[in-house]
Amino acid sequence: MSFVDIIGDLLGFGQLSAGEELIAAFIGAAIIGTLMLTNTALAGPWAKRKITAAFTDRIAVNRVGPAGLLIIVADAVRLLSKELIVPEEVDRPAWDFAPIVMAGSAILGFAVIPMGSGIQLADPETGLAFVFAVGSIASLGLVMAGYASNNKFSFLGGLRAVAQNLAYEIPLVLTGASVVLFTGTLQMSSIVQSQQAALLSLGPITIPAWYAFVNPFAFVLFMAANLAEVGRNPFDIPEAPTEIVAGYQTEYSSVYFVLLYLGEFVHIFLGGAIVTTLFLGGPAGPVLPGFVWFMIKIWAIFLFTQWARSAVPRVRIDQLIEIGWKGMLVLSFANLVLTAVIVGVTGI
């Protein structure tokens, strides 16, 4: 029974007609959207501060509410009540669309992610291709923001974003494709399904056949490319606060800034969700319900990006291009070919 059917059931629709299915699907989308936005609200104003503070020997927010949690409310009010400053000669409506494109595309990706406990809005056969495709739309938003802002720093940031995404999108997708070689399908639920088997049994401990264990090389490669994809250290080049002020974000304020920021965080979570689905067995895990495991996994990857941000310097744009085209691309092709050979010979 799919997620939409469950919702239809709860609404008492019985056998769904086309109209009823639409209503159920909208409600499902709203639930998943709200879920991810809640996650982001938790991550942006609160968790990020707490995590960074832990890495840097500080305390961070602790005045408003228990453990400073109400800072989320305070920040929401603060950010929404800021004045929206629209600089002269910005290229509208591209300038207005950019934040929406960036936030929207990232949320869209969650439509096909199996979150466990039956939560998956849609499960098309091309699920993986879809999620990569919508993930890349964010680059369009970056270019729009950079180009439309009529600011030289934004412009540089936009150009950097394009260069960076070209250099990293290909290794990312190729490494993803090496997983597809194992599963033989792009459907997300099948990818999760094929990781359920046991890889090894060491006494009472059973190591599942997650692709992170089956092909750790691909996992590492994917995590590195993912850091570049979501623009976190050492690859936060499009923003690069000390070099080009704030890159493509420079001219945005108020709600638009919130949208950009939110888009970035949802994107990090989407990256985490893809990693979880492809390499970490999706929502699989002992004792706790699948959904909880899914959340734990994407938060672990969020933690990893924050760790990188606190401890690793940023590389230069030319160095990044070099790593991307000369290193990662070659490695990801090698990984793909090798996986193909192994799968072909052993017939897993």
């Binding site: 606060p241 606190s310 940023r314």
Partner: protein, 563 residues
């Protein structure tokens, strides 16, 4: 990068005119210059050769090439009732105790003098400052514009007839791309002019860098300074020697290097008024100054990491955590955390805080934790491969360029120039203590960072020895201040130029007295001012991120650049 082969010194030394075993032989120097030297005058630190305004380049070339004066430390300009005067303070990187002042008087009605810029590149900014503040024009200078004040300013503030009550109008004009018409790589290539600063996250204050980009690479760059000019020289000229000047040095390099700055004024004024500082006070001064240096280097390290890492990361917080401890110790000592005002002419304001044991214990605890903390920083920063990728061989400053631009301090030492006034022109208690001058041959951003980290180690060594000395100092011999008259009036027309090794390099003070209790001319030679001049050398052709890193590795403080 390897340094240039050292020239065989034994032969070369014989050729250097005027250098003898007992120091400088001024007569030999005068013979070298022949009748170009019109008269000779005595300054307290060196002799001054008075020359004609159109002989400047000949004289300086001769002194540089044949007498070995490779360091133009400072250029002082001033106006007398009957003339203008530029003084070139020359030194040698090998031995800064060998000094010579070249005095160039120009007439009142036509204050034009030959520029020294072709001889020493550092004269570029120094002469622009002289033109800006005093009004002497330099012939043959490539770029005779104002430097600290806006271009529309009327009059020269340190000139005698300047009317301070005259309102000034400052227009706001758009900056122009100096390479607008330059399509060096073909017609379809284009450059982009971009203002980095004065409001930018990585300019360490209000520095404005006019940058022309070719893609992401820097085609042309010019630091535009003066946003933080606070007339420090003028203010010092209005204060009395005894007490009213000492608070100002804290406000030049205001990021915790205050003790070092205060020493520069103390040293100049003590030479001027011939004051002998008690040994006990010298030890306290040395300890306080080195603590200051550690705090300043921690801050430099942290902000450099901030520039390269791009965020307030762990490194920044770790360095600030350690700097905080130094600040607490200095607070115990002086009562202040930043603007210490602890030095006095002839000594220090007060003795160590009671109970002394507690103070010593606190300082020792800090020093004992030091090696571990430095290891931590080396683990996190200098041994990080991405950090090395970013910093090694970027922002290269060859030693010859560094000398010509008058770079000093960690910037010069990072280019392999073995120059440290604490050892080479000793003052305080340094020559009694056991420590080393740190140099690195890398000439790049990485070398400058390493020099600072290793200098912290050396400072810790010095502080430790000072603490040992102070702990065992006999109680009846703790004299913190010499006898200094309530009102100091040095003799009429005495001139002195003295420098100390501040956190950023050679911080020099020139004072001319006119027989009153206030200086007639007070000139500050700021190390950051000279060091910042090297930025174009380091960054042209590099990427923006490397330029930002180079700027960070120069460790400038705009309060000291603009004064």
């Amino acid at each position: 990068m390897s340094l240039e082969e050292p020239t065989p010194d034994s032969d070369a030394e014989l050729d250097v005119v005027g250098e003898t075993e007992d120091g400088l032989d001024y007569d030999a120097l005068a013979d070298l210059l022949g009748d170009k030297v019109r008269t000779r005058e005595e300054h307290l630190n060196a002799e001054g050769f008075v020359i004609r305004p159109d002989d400047v380049q000949d004289v300086l070339f001769a002194l540089r090439d044949e007498a070995g004066f490779d360091h133009l430390s400072s250029v002082t300009a001033q106006e007398y009732d009957d003339r203008y005067e530029s003084i070139y303070h020359l030194k040698k990187f090998d031995d800064p105790t060998q000094q010579l002042s070249v005095v160039v008087p120009t007439s009142k009605d036509n204050p034009v003098s030959e520029s020294a810029e072709p001889v020493y590149r550092t004269a570029d900014w120094h002469e622009r400052e002289a033109y800006d503040l005093v009004g002497i024009e330099y012939e043959g200078h490539p770029d005779m514009r104002r430097i600290l004040l806006p271009e529309t300013w009327q009059g020269h503030p340190l000139a005698l007839d300047y009317d301070q009550t005259e309102p000034q109008i400052v227009t706001l004009a758009e900056h122009r791309n100096p390479l607008q018409e330059d399509h060096r790589a073909g017609d379809d290539s284009d450059t982009m002019f971009i203002n980095i600063g004065p409001h930018h996250p990585a300019t360490h204050g209000v520095l404005h860098v006019e940058t022309v980009l070719d893609g992401e690479q820097i085609a042309d760059i010019e630091p535009d300074i003066g946003y933080l000019h606070r007339c420090e020289e003028q203010m010092c000229q209005q204060g009395t020697y005894r007490h009213q000047i000492m608070p100002y040095p804290d406000r030049w390099d205001y990021v915790s290097a205050g003790m070092l700055n205060e020493w520069s004024y103390a040293r100049a004024a003590e030479t001027l008024a011939d004051i002998e500082v008690p040994e006990y006070a010298q030890v306290i001064r040395t300890m306080a100054a080195e603590l200051s240096r550690m705090a300043a280097h921690f801050l430099a390290m942290g902000t450099f990491a901030l520039d390269v890492y791009g965020d307030f990361t762990a490194i920044f917080q770790y360095t600030f955590r350690d700097r905080e401890i130094v600040q607490n110790i200095l607070e115990d000592l002086s009562g202040q955390r930043l603007m210490f005002n602890y030095f006095r002419l002839g000594g220090v304001a007060w003795d160590l805080p009671e109970p002394r044991e507690e103070f010593f214990e606190k300082t020792r605890d800090f020093l004992n934790d030091m090696p571990g903390k430095l290891d931590e920083l080396h683990d996190l920063v200098t041994s990080n491969e991405i950090f090395q990728l970013r910093c090694v061989d970027t922002g290269v400053l060859p030693p010859e360029e560094a000398k010509s631009y008058g770079a000093t301090g960690p910037v010069a030492r990072g280019s392999g120039i073995d120059y440290d006034l604490r050892r080479d022109d000793p003052y305080g208690y340094y020559d009694e203590l056991d420590w080393d001058v740190v140099t690195e041959d890398g000439c790049d951003n990485f070398a400058r960072v390493l020099v600072r980290l290793r200098e912290v180690e050396q400072s810790a060594r010095i502080v430790e020895q000072c603490v040992d000395l102070l702990e065992d100092w006999p109680e009846d011999d703790r004299e913190i201040q010499a006898n200094v008259p309530r009102t100091l009036k040095p003799d009429h027309d005495t001139e002195v130029y003295e420098a100390v090794e501040a956190a950023k390099g050679e911080l020099g003070i020139y004072i001319r007295s006119d027989g009153t209790d206030k200086p007639a001319r007070f000139k500050i030679r700021s190390p950051c001012f000279s060091n910042l001049q090297t930025l174009p050398v380091m960054s042209e052709g590099e990427y923006i991120p490397d330029m930002i890193a180079s700027l960070g590795s120069l460790d400038i403080v705009l309060g000291e650049v603009d004064r």
